[in-house]
Symmetry: C2
């Protein structure tokens, strides 16, 4: 694990401040997104399927962002993209795919979700020491649930699993994405409303 | 239209304050959730299919809320449910299903989405003149994208349409739900971050 942390610049899982969200809170959130033990199992399977495809997934997501100036701008300033910034974030994004599929959703996981939320807002640019747009606007964080969910299906289906298994992995991925994005929104919300 | 407005207490579509979100903003949001003209067509078809099933859909959603005290509490105070409040909101919720499928997503629509957001937060309880929990917490608003999306599929499939058409209606519904929930979150977000 330590090796992997060192390999991805700025990836500090297990080394961040505590989340204000407790495991008891998370349990209620999981119930709300219908997240069950079966979903955990299907995320594990998705992890095995996606492991050697994360680069191809990231190509699709980055292609989508790159094709939309209103999204690409966040990776630079005044519409000048910072290629190094993009490349650094991309590695952590790839790791997030695998973390989402394979990690236990415990307090460490909660803490890192909170950190990722901060990195889209008040801590943006700090991890990579870049001079880019100061925040990512909230609206796109939630809206992104759709492309991040919808585009994953062909990758889940690409290794010959039955349609029913693909559907179950896809449903688990949808729940996991919504769960994590919900947690990332915390820093954007007014005091007492989360 | 006027007749229908009078029929549903508290439903004030077309009669609310302007949304801070413009149609130009909405256009970028639509692009972000991959919302296309095809989705509009499939929402129309979904509207035809769901029209005589809204009560059954609401039974499922209210059943889900009722089975979870951490959700049901918002329909009352100190865990005492207000049956009238529930019933009133239910009628507007049913209308929202049809509005989502059939309305043009124009400035009037944007304005009412903002109003619905306010009604989950600072304007909660005012429309029905009730004494219930003061706000619905943000986390469940976003998390609810999953149950509101996932539970609709059997209803879309219940009238013999091809699997491919059902999938397309389902995808359009997912996008529309994410879009509206995103807009509802505005009042929860810190100034300048939406
Ligand atoms: C479902 C929604 C999203 C997911 C799953 C996602 C995923 C991620 C992940 C995993 C990271 C790296 C976290 C880390 O440092 O370990 C990250 C950072 C970042 N994301 Fe997102 N993201 C989402 C929405 C967006 C949107 C809408 C944009 C804007 C186009 C965006 C732009 C960025 C940028 C610029 C960073 C680097 C932030 C920094 O300076 O540290 N993300 N994202
Ligand atoms: C995808 C998420 C959600 C959808 C689609 C949704 C839908 C709606 C709609 C259409 C209305 C009526 C709006 C009007 O007045 O015309 C409403 C109001 C209400 N919703 Fe939600 N809702 C969502 C999340 C939640 C959650 C998580 C709760 C909590 C369990 C909740 C509880 C309520 C309550 C108590 C009201 C009445 C608010 C008032 O006092 O005016 N909703 N909702």
């Amino acid at each position: 694990m330590q090796t992997q942390i060192e390999q991805i610049p700025g990836y500090t899982y297990g080394q961040v401040d505590p989340s204000p969200v407790s495991e008891a809170d998370l349990d209620l959130l999981k119930q709300t997104v219908l997240f069950s033990d079966e979903d955990v199992q299907y995320l594990r399977l998705a992890g095995i399927i996606l492991e050697d495809q994360t680069d191809a997934v990231l190509d699709v997501w980055y292609g989508f962002v790159g094709a939309h100036p209103h999204l690409a701008r966040y990776f630079g300033k005044n519409n000048n993209l910072d290629a190094n910034y993009l490349a650094n974030v991309r590695r952590r994004f790839g790791k997030w795919i695998m973390d989402t599929c394979t990690r236990a959703y415990d307090q460490d996981w909660l803490n890192y979700q909170h950190e990722i939320g901060l990195r889209h807002l008040v801590k943006k640019n700090q991890t990579d020491g870049v001079d880019a747009e100061p925040i990512i606007h909230f609206r796109y964080l939630v809206a992104f649930i759709v492309p991040i969910t919808a585009t994953i299906k062909p990758f889940l289906a690409s290794k010959g699993h039955s349609a029913s298994k693909v559907e179950k992995m896809y449903a688990a991925w949808f729940k996991a994405t919504t769960l994590t994005v919900t947690l990332w929104c915390y820093p954007y919300t007014k005091a007492g409303t989360f």
